[in-house]
Symmetry: D3
Subunit: 154 residues, 6 copies
């Protein structure tokens, strides 16, 4: 396996901002996700939840760097029907990472590599690159991924 | 165990009426459930689904006897935001059933008994009765259920 | 309310094509949805399910007109990791519909109107039009929808 | 738009109390929700989760003001089958709010208004009021909401 | 790519047997899954649903060959708390398939190959084989899968 | 009811380690759960979530004692496709507990008893014991549980 001198995992802190949406059309929730990424969210995800009075609702979760917390809270309060959000800080441990090009028979795909200390533990082909090749060559996306995996390390 | 002469399982046919709700507030969905039972639905349930454009939506499912199918379809089309519903017929196999009183230290609870042919296979205390006793005696509902189970067959 | 001479609900038949995905990356599932709409799917939706061996899987459901059934089955078998799909036919009952322009202070929004017989039962502003205005005017999408609802019938 | 002099968002802290229910009938979970609101919970919601040994379980989440934390933890430990709960504190940011009456053709509906600083950002018709009118006038709930939205600001 | 003379997709018919579980502990549901596979189920899966009275319930779905339908219905009625099941027949379209051995640096993994007509469209390493190698060599399971994918076709 | 001198609830602190899996096969997620229990996780559970680009993903949650936190974070980073995890500390309040044998007509079942202070609030038959008897005597698991409940306190 590839080896590289590296120290321990990387660490930082981010906020998780959450709110329960029980009086908003899913059309607006789908749109919202996009807007929150535009305003700097690290990640946005939705969890199906069940609330009082038989309501099949959605919990919105936004991961935000400390500098973006206030902007993102304001965006949630403005774009959605909610009257309040809750938030808390969490630690993050991350693999150190770099990027590498993978040469496939259909073109180049970038891949993200992750290291635990100095040990390479994973190589992940980038979605957008695989998607582009799949569309160009009218091939199933899974075929591109499999080909990319085959060309790693060779 | 209790025995009773009975023939095979009971059979009938019901309709499953379904629609995907992706532009309606969960507040309205919760309310809808109640309305559909009032108009004769055998059962109503909601499934979290994910739709196009990132929408966290809800599939509404209504079980209806053939005679209630049209009324219930019209109710769904009127009460919700949907422009169409789909439906199909399904077979049902059911245990034959009767009811029995269970005497607990806190009062009587009705229970539904189910038979597979002439074999008693289950006895289920009725929710509404257990709930009433739990509230009267300020006891956890699970305590009432457990007590009812203890008093079955004795 | 608006009235229009119309007969009963409209009816047709469509296929529901389903498969359980338990060995495919969600990245590919998200991509697949788009591909299936391109190949003529009436609707595509995903249901979270739990399968054997602790697998948090996804049920893919595709609604297809009879003429597109074979193409869509082939697309699912090619694009995904599945080795088989199941399908069945369902009836559909639909409101008759037409379109109308709604004039808001920020521009025109098309709306779909639905009729139960000759009775107008709903008017739904089109998502893509509302989204466009929300982005042009940097307003929350829900504000555009609310304004469109206000301008219906006036 | 309405304007009002107001300072920043309102802030407070609440507890999130959680437990995973994997050995309790959903009948009891539905009943529990009601009980927890009666004992002062700010909100209660349920999340479908998947646990070990193939169990389709439910995560219970309760939002509690600091003064109600102990009472609510005790209620969860008494009413459910769980042997332990976990909890953590979260910050909340909330719009300042007031209430206003909306006059519709079918009667009065209260609405909650939310302000970001001095800017009115949303007006939400109250569910219970809309529901009451829907039932009195035998109209779809969504029709009442839409009418209420139309009468805001006029 | 591999080619093989083959006719169209394979077809058969199976039953989908379903019931909604709203009064049974998830512990029993997890156990049930195993039992139903032992009695011949083709597949068993669970869907989180939301039922009346705020119940976070589970829809059980069983795929059964026509010859196993009655046995499996009886098993569901005996093992669970339900008093009835519903079922309907569905068509299946399947890739024709064969098996091949993949030689990896850690041992042999069987793989299932699927053909659309005479075209090989996928090769899927078998889970149980990959799992065995992962445990023997104390390697992440994803590493075994990736290695297996690399050794296909070479 | 049984009484026993006991002080208040027991307290400790644990970590919740979480990551969102959107590019990993559910086959690997199911396998992972088992591995994390082997490495000391107190609990592991999976939540269906919806992520960007239409992805039906899974949130992995691991409860860990402080001493196992680093080992478990490393296990998640090694076994899964993720490049980072987040974690936070939570308080736990637990019933004090002991174990008791329940004698049923089919054999002995251990049960866990929970006390709130000196008050016995619940007695839960152990799953593995009930399962063993169900399999030995070819009885439905729910029948064993019900019998165990009947024999508590007698």
């Amino acid at each position: 396996m590839y080896r590289r001198k590296k120290n321990a995992l990387e660490h930082d802190q981010v906020y998780v901002i959450e709110t329960n949406l029980d009086d908003m059309s899913p059309e607006i929730t789908g749109y919202l996700m996009e807007k929150l990424f535009q305003r700097g969210a690290l990640d946005v995800f939705l969890t199906p939840i069940f609330m009082k009075k038989g309501r099949p609702a959605t919990k919105l979760s936004v991961l935000a760097e400390p500098d973006h917390r206030e902007t993102l809270i304001e965006a949630v309060l403005t774009e959605t029907t909610t009257f309040g959000v809750r938030y808390y800080i969490v630690e993050r441990s991350k693999l150190t990472r770099d990027f590498v090009d993978i040469h496939t028979r259909w073109g180049v795909v970038r891949a993200k590599r992750g290291y635990l200390g100095d040990r390479l533990v994973k190589t992940a082909p980038e979605y957008e690159d695989c998607k582009k090749l799949a569309e160009q060559h009218r091939l199933p996306l899974r075929v591109i991924y499999e080909e990319a995996i085959r060309q790693i390390n060779t």
